[in-house]
């Protein structure tokens, strides 16, 4: 079991390393293909004319004058070495010290990338985790009841409802929720985000609607998935065996049915949750949350390359980590996985 997890962790490190190469290639090398120096995206102002001494100094400072392979190692090693970053030479230039882990410095926002991420991450995690609990509970309950009685009234209403929910995008449900709950019915105050440590109650009030909006579509998807899995599992031979033993319906369903039916959902859940870190752009925009999605969409808009790269790598790490956790969980649930 421990060997299994260590193997998976090693695999995860390799994946993250590959992601770093791809990220580097896309954001550092791609601009050069169009004959541009990536310098512009790093210093947040018009660079000196190409070929000038100042330009060459800048290129040297960022390591763009090195050979390609060397450039990658330079970029990677900078993450682990504290250093000073300047966006030019002379007195008009801005200088910033970058602490480990140094993913660069945003001269647009005048903040270290790691600080920006550190501020946005709790918002994104809070959003993803809260929403995932909602959709998991809702989806599993609806899906299980439907799956145990396919064709019943509950099942039909539920499946039509979930089809509708899957079809409605967040940029529609989000504003509608805001309009109804906050402005029309005034069930919730129009509060801005507060961190959970600063003001838990306000945090909760500010997060409820984003959670619901984000969970809505996912819950529908999970309900359909659960239903399909339950129907399939309840037709398995071992369910018949369990019934032939004289077990009660409740025991047959919960101990023998649900455990198998929900196992594949663990996989999908982990990956969904991992994916959500850094990709909840629409929800964050609709509800004015300053999470990773908001950070990255702003960075893209302002061509703030260090921030884009930082968020990209973080999102990749989150997804890989989620996969490792899923694999470990899977091994706990399904004994057949442990040996192979």
């Amino acid at each position: 079991m421990i060997r299994f997890i260590i193997r998976r962790l090693l695999g995860a490190v390799v994946v993250v390393w590959i992601v770093s190469i791809v990220t580097f290639a896309i954001f550092q090398l791609a601009p050069r293909l169009s004959g541009q120096s990536p310098i512009y995206y790093y210093i947040a102002k018009q660079p000196p004319p190409p070929g000038s001494v100042q330009f060459k100094e800048l290129e040297h400072a960022f390591g763009f004058d090195r050979p390609l392979f060397n450039q990658y190692w330079h970029w990677l090693s900078q993450i682990f070495h504290p250093h000073t970053i300047r966006n030019g030479a002379g007195t008009t230039a801005e200088a910033a010290s970058c602490h480990v882990p140094c993913f660069g410095y945003s001269f647009k926002l005048h903040t270290e990338v790691s600080t920006l991420i550190w501020q946005a991450l709790p918002v994104s995690i809070g959003l993803a985790v809260g929403a995932s609990i909602l959709w998991l509970v809702g989806g599993l309950i609806v899906g299980t009841i439907s799956g145990l009685r396919p064709g019943s009234i509950f099942d039909r209403v539920g499946m039509v409802g979930t089809l509708a929910a899957v079809s409605v995008p967040i940029f529609f449900t989000g504003p509608i929720l805001l309009l109804l709950v906050v402005y029309n019915w005034k069930w919730l105050p129009n509060v801005s985000y507060a961190s959970i440590t600063a003001d838990p109650l306000q945090w909760l009030k500010s997060m409820i609607l984003p959670w619901i909006a984000l969970a809505f579509a996912f819950a529908a998807l999970y309900a359909r998935l659960t239903r399909a899995n339950i129907i399939e599992t309840m037709g398995e031979d071992y369910i018949r065996t369990a019934r032939a033993k004289g077990l009660s319906r409740r025991k047959v369903v919960i101990k023998h049915g649900l455990r198998s039916a929900l196992t594949p959902i663990v996989t999908i859940f982990g990956i969904d949750l991992g994916t959500l870190i850094g990709t909840t752009v629409i929800t964050e925009t609709v509800f004015d949350l300053k999470g990773l999605g908001w950070l990255s969409i702003n960075a893209i808009r302002q061509q703030d390359l260090p921030v884009i790269m930082g968020v990209t790598i973080l999102a990749a790490v989150a997804l890989v980590l989620a996969n490792v956790i899923v694999d470990a969980l899977y091994a706990v649930i399904d004994p057949r996985v442990r040996l192979s």
């Binding site: 398995e236 071992y238 018949r240 065996t241 033993k245 004289g246 077990l247 023998h256 196992t263 057949r336």
Partner: protein, 363 residues
């Protein structure tokens, strides 16, 4: 209650006192059982009016092709169709109780304790996520109020009885760590752990290789004798029937077409379908053998069951019956000798003549 169970498990005592006579006196009596499934294409008459009896300590074989209604019949006895879209009618008398009309709660008390079932594919019939031993212990715990430790002890003992080496450590193995034959032994242990009075084995040896088949059959026979259980053995393997069973029911298209003592069925069969089955059985006791004779055609649709005799589209002898009765008139299951019943329009003496003159030489 648990003391009594242990006593029967520990010693091969014969428990005649609990056997109550049914109306007909048999331990298990199935009368005119029908199991119909409503589907979008129409009503599937999976079992259409079948009757048989089994006494304690006896082994009844139910033979037939895939889709002839064997498994559906056995699952109806355990009441496993309750809560599905199946419509079950007729009567099943088990130890003085009628089961078709019994509630799911009542059936649950009987399942596993007084009647148990061994299924065809032991790998898919065991839950992949639970230890083999704990699945057996679970079957014991449902019907006996004992500690988990005691249930484990009984289960390990049972694993030992069915011939699994190192039962105490194998208890903690998962089904995928067992071989096919061991899985089926575990299934048998699970079925017998509460010493049921009726054991239904649904093709228990089809998934196993031949050497293991014989061991499993011997094991079942031995344990059934010890517990004085009635056994219903469902199979399409006539060799297994000949070795194991005392009485045989031949099913075709959801109906019983011939039934009787095993010797009658093998040496004096009177129904064309039984002849076909015998002709398609490979035999090792002949030095030279021509090709096996298959039964031409395919099993009937259970939605649009053939009019007249259910076997008539595949029967070679329909022209021997005057007036096209095989196609127009459904034959009754009639007694031809003591305990031997046949569903055929051909008169008895003529059937026997056909068998000795035309069928026997080709077997």
């Amino acid at each position: 209650m648990s003391d009594q169970k242990e006593a029967t498990l520990g010693t091969p005592a014969v428990d005649f006192e609990t056997e109550r006579p049914t109306e007909s006196g048999a331990f298990l009596s199935v009368r005119d059982l029908r199991v119909h499934f409503k589907t979008d294409d129409g009503v599937v008459k999976a079992v259409d009016g079948i009757s048989f009896e089994v006494a304690r300590g006896r082994i009844l074989g139910i033979v037939g092709e895939s889709g002839s209604g064997k498994s559906v019949t056995s699952q109806a006895i355990l009441g496993l169709h309750k809560g599905s879209n199946a419509q079950v009618s007729g009567e099943i008398w088990f130890d003085g109780r009628e089961l078709v009309a019994a509630s799911e709660a009542d059936m649950r008390k009987l399942r596993g304790s007084e009647m148990a079932m061994i299924f065809q594919d032991p790998l898919s019939s065991l839950h992949p996520f639970y230890k083999v031993g704990s699945q057996i212990a679970e079957a014991y715990l449902v019907h006996n109020h004992v500690s988990r430790r005691e249930a484990r002890r009984v289960s390990v003992e049972m694993l030992d009885r069915v011939g699994i080496p190192n039962p105490d450590s194998r208890y903690d193995d998962f089904p995928h760590q067992f071989s096919g034959g061991m899985r089926q032994r575990a299934m048998i242990a699970m079925a017998l752990v509460c010493s049921p009075k009726l054991l239904i084995a649904d093709e228990p040896t089809t998934a196993l290789d031949v050497t293991v088949q014989a061991q499993i059959l011997e094991l079942m026979k031995g344990l059934a004798k010890e517990f004085n259980s009635a056994i219903i053995l469902i199979t399409h393997d006539l060799g297994v029937v000949a070795e194991t069973c005392e009485d045989v029911v031949v099913m075709y298209g959801g109906q019983c077409v011939e039934k009787g003592p095993v010797d009658d069925l093998f040496y004096r069969p009177e129904m064309a379908y039984t002849w076909g089955l015998l002709g398609s059985m490979p035999r090792l006791d002949r030095t030279r053998q021509a090709r096996l004779t298959p039964i031409p055609g395919t099993p009937p649709s259970l939605i649009q069951v053939p009019r007249g005799c259910v076997f008539n589209p595949r029967c070679r002898f329909t022209e021997r019956v005057p007036g096209n009765r095989c196609v127009t008139e459904h034959p009754d299951l009639l007694v031809t000798a003591a305990g031997h019943e046949v569903r055929c329009h051909i008169p008895g003496p003529e059937r026997r003549q056909i068998f000795t003159d035309e069928i026997l030489p080709t077997l």
